[in-house]
Amino acid sequence: MTLREIILAFLAARYPAAFTAEAITARVNASGLLDKPTSTGEVYSELKILCRKFEYIDAEADTLTGNTAWSATTEGVREWHISGQLHVG
């Protein structure tokens, strides 16, 4: 299971809620699904690919904090369903 799959599963299960890259990193690491902890930079790279290449997620600016928040698109949720609804606790 790749970091990309885990990120998509995390966001799709919580659709339409949006999370910052930092929050996603913390939750992915806490899930214990990876062999070693990941960094915000790695997560950010995967988020950009999921957003720009696959359009499985969307990015939006949090006007309160200025941070970017990421949420799954309906296409992303569909992909997650098709690939077996991986659970990221």
Binding site: A13, R14, Y15, P16, A17, A18, F19, T20, A23, R27, A30, E60, A61, D62, T63, L64, A69, S71, G84, Q85, L86, H87, G89
Partner: protein, 222 residues
Amino acid sequence: MSNTRAYRSKIGRLPWALRNEINHMIRDGRTGTEVLAAINSSKEWRAVKRTTKQEDVSPQNLTDWRSTGYADWLTEQDKTEHIRQLASLSQQIVEQSGGDPAAVGSRILAGNLLTCLETADPADTVELAKALTALRSAETNSKKADIAGDLAALKEREHNLNLKKFQRQTCELFLTWAKNKAATKIVGDKSANNDAKTEALGRLMFGDLWDSDPEADASKSR
């Protein structure tokens, strides 16, 4: 995923639908005897038995299944339920916070709340619930203020309409009474001041309905 994991036990090699049925029976508290009877009398198991010449599924086989396949199935059920709850909660938060899933703020709010709820210990959750209650109360007060504002705007609009109506009616009255000889005589009376002319015109135009200005009456009596 564990529900597609290959099991090598007698029960584990049964078709998925029958295994699912067996798992539901165990979860619902059916006795081992009942579950074994259901398995051993099923057409799926009888087909396997005919082909492989195996003994019927035994109580020990069922005990083994409880600690492997059934345990995995239970975990999977928990995960599915968790996912269902997360999806439902996200939708509820977004709807409650504005009703528009496309609204950026509500999606971020939903994310923040889910993070708090999923990572908080029970004590923190109580504090969060209190904060949410306060937030809800503030939202209610804000809505009340909005309604009061709407009412004030409505009254102002009504007032403006009445003013316009009054102005139009005054002009219409002027046109009507400008042709009246008695009225033009009052207006042209150089011996009377404006207060006296107003009183005289009032009585002419409105008769008994004319309500004299009390201050003018008082000054007259003085």
